[in-house]
């Protein structure tokens, strides 16, 4: 039960999109995040996740054309397996939203089985539960929740090729005329309904500085800049900016999300730690795969074993350790 990926900004993924602060509250949930990810017409933006068979995808979506009565009939979401086979596609058809699913990975098995005739031009929360190769049966089930209620359950049938799981998610704006906007993205191997995400970014030097580069060097996914080390045990840490959610937030977990790229030799793993009151709390080393985020999760405050509160989050320093 863990968070596999979070995105609050365009830099958390790869592809053609721009962060936009236009119309916060209407185009993205400005209580928790600071921008929407604006994908222009005929472009894609997406990300890889650790290959998982039972996975939830949550996001806010706004199809922001002021008048949905347009000739838009394109695709806005592709979900793929670890070998790139298509599992599901969502597309818009002149004001409605259609689900296509794939059992052979390339040709849509259903193209008109489910349609949502509403929720366009309005900020909506999607939670989509993929059960791929359910209990090794070779079948797939997809359940759609919009704004918390079930809007469709697709017992999709038997897969002709069974891959290891779902590994790629791509939002698109193919023939959607005026673009789409997604935001507040969470991927988890547990129920995401009711979850929200906010971000604390590195904003200052921390206790450790053994890696080359510092917090100012760290970009986000695929930006080509960051910090590096080839020495086992090297630690680097940084302070974090203010909690971006509302006062009184509850049910919180803390995730340190990192993109790591192993070199040709030397250390091959990355651990992440939180430093609280001069003590490091290591999460556990993971082996990075290029392009796939590593997420280190603390469900409780490791310094107290108590549930998180915003005061405790305000005291955090985050960091990474190079591990052989």
């Amino acid at each position: 039960m863990s968070i596999l990926y979070c995105a609050t900004e365009v830099g958390d993924g790869f592809g053609a999109a721009a962060g936009s602060t236009t119309a916060g509250g209407a185009y993205y949930n400005d209580t928790w995040v600071s921008q929407g990810i604006n994908i222009p017409d005929d472009r894609y933006w997406g990300f890889a996740i650790p290959t998982t068979k039972d996975v939830w995808l949550a996001f806010d979506y706004n199809y922001y054309d002021p008048d949905a009565n347009i000739n838009a009939d394109g695709q806005f979401l592709h979900v793929m397996t670890d070998t790139g086979l298509l599992v599901m596609r969502l597309q818009c058809v002149d004001g409605s939203m259609r689900v296509d699913h794939y059992l052979n990975g390339s040709s849509a098995t259903s193209t008109n089985g489910i349609r949502f005739y509403d929720h366009l031009n309005c900020l909506c929360r999607f939670d989509i539960h993929f059960e791929y190769d359910v209990a090794s049966s070779g079948t797939m089930t997809i359940t759609f929740y919009i704004d918390g209620i079930v809007r469709a359950k697709l017992d999709a049938g038997t897969l002709s090729t069974v891959d290891s799981g779902i590994a790629g998610i791509r939002f698109g704006c193919y023939d959607l005329e005026n673009g789409v906007r997604v935001s507040s993205i969470i991927v988890a191997d547990e129920d995401t309904r009711g979850m929200v995400v906010t971000e604390l970014e590195p904003d200052g030097a921390g206790n450790y500085s053994a890696w080359d580069g510092d917090y100012t060097s760290m970009g986000e996914a695929g930006q080509g800049s960051g910090i590096e080390s080839n020495s086992n045990g090297d630690r680097e840490s940084w302070t974090l900016d203010a909690f971006g959610g509302p006062a009184g937030a509850v049910g919180m977990r803390v995730v340190n999300q990192i993109w790591g790229y192993p070199g040709g030799s030397g250390v091959s793993q990355i651990d992440s730690f939180l430093r609280i009151s001069s003590t490091d709390y290591d999460s556990g080393a993971q082996t990075p795969t290029p392009g796939i985020p590593l997420t280190y999760e603390w469900t409780t405050n490791p310094a107290t074993t108590a549930i998180w509160d915003t005061t405790a989050i305000g005291l955090l320093e985050a960091g990474v350790e190079a591990v052989t």
């Binding site: 209407a26 469709a152 309904r193 929200v196 009184g248």
Partner: protein
């Protein structure tokens, strides 16, 4: 016979912001019972809506009650004002505006997808009135969707509409969406969803306004709002109780009958620790627990007391001043 959902405020319907709003304009609601109405924005050639799920997905006999204002639309509005969904997302029944000004009609979805008008188009107006929509889905294994609609207490559309289900996948009625494609701007208040006749019912409210006897949870009762998004109180310890005092009852001093007092709570379980939540009323230093339920994210948990648990007698408004409400975490 139970109440499944009570609605007062915009944030009960939309997890994200920027769609519904609360109107405190006089005349948009009955100030004898409530302090605001929920404003549903007009949508022309565009969709949207506020949603709530209720029950356990097996309810087959549902009443939806609300007071409505400006429920008449214009000549170019002919979409669903509100719609009921099944447990697997299929559409079941709705009230549509149009096709003309000041008109509305019942529709059902016997095949789960395409709306079919049933009965005759009827007249509606802009004044503040109660409406009640009674929908039975395969109730008692009938194989039918049965609808009745009451506007200001009067049956409309030619009375009961009964039509055979063809390919609808639903087991029962499980969710309500208000607002949608091609409807005008209107307001609702005193919303009740129940599996009993709601005609003539009214809805008052009491909200947390101070600390109660218990404070084991993180946060206080007054931190609890209507927003479903991770703002409120929390605990990871079973048997922890939190309680709070309540604001003054918003209804009249001597209502005809008080059907029930409900404590409505939204709860999101964590990935470890207690998974259930109970609710209790504390009266004269005694706790009266309702019974624990397993919480589901974004779905209201409605705990109901049809009589005063300290006396087993019918509720009186004078009882409300002594109420303290609370919740308990249960493994």
């Amino acid at each position: 016979m139970a109440f499944l959902f009570c609605g007062h405020k915009a944030k009960q319907f939309k997890p994200t912001t920027g769609y519904f709003s609360d109107s405190t304009t006089a005349g948009n609601f009955d100030s004898n019972y409530t302090d605001s109405a929920v404003q549903v924005p007009g949508r022309t050639n565009a969709g949207g809506g506020g949603t709530v799920s209720f029950g356990d997905g097996t309810e087959t006999d549902i009443w939806v009650h609300m007071y409505v204002k400006n429920f008449n639309g214009t000549s170019n509005e002919d979409g669903a004002t509100f719609i009921l969904y099944g447990d697997l997302g299929d559409q079941i029944a709705a009230i549509w505006l149009g096709p003309g000004t000041n008109q509305a009609r019942m529709v059902d979805y016997t095949a789960g997808t395409n709306a079919v008008q049933r009965g005759s188009t009827f007249s509606v107006g802009s004044t503040l009135v109660p409406i009640d929509f009674h929908v039975q889905y395969d109730n008692g294994g009938s194989g039918n969707i049965v609808m009745d609609f009451y506007y200001n207490g009067v049956a409309m559309g030619g009375g009961t509409q009964t039509n055979a289900i063809t390919s609808n996948n639903s087991t029962g009625i499980a969710a309500l969406k208000i607002g949608g494609y091609d409807v005008g701007s209107w307001l609702f208040s005193e919303l009740i969803v129940a599996n009993q006749d709601t005609r003539g019912m009214r809805l008052g409210q009491m909200t947390p306004d101070g600390a109660g006897n218990y404070s084991a949870w993180d946060g206080a009762g007054t931190d609890i709002g209507f927003n479903k998004e991770r703002v409120g109180i929390e605990t990871d310890t079973a048997a922890d109780r939190e309680s709070w005092s309540l604001s003054a009852y918003s209804g009249p001093a001597s209502p005809t009958t008080i059907h029930a007092v409900v404590n409505q709570v939204y709860c999101t379980p964590g990935n470890s620790g207690p998974s259930q939540i109970d609710s209790f009323f504390r009266i004269s230093s005694t706790d009266y627990d309702a019974g624990a339920v397993t919480a589901e994210p974004l779905k209201p948990n409605v705990y109901e007391w049809t009589t005063n648990p300290s006396t087993a007698a019918a509720w009186a408004t004078t009882d409300f001043g002594a109420l303290e409400a609370g919740v308990e975490a249960v493994t």
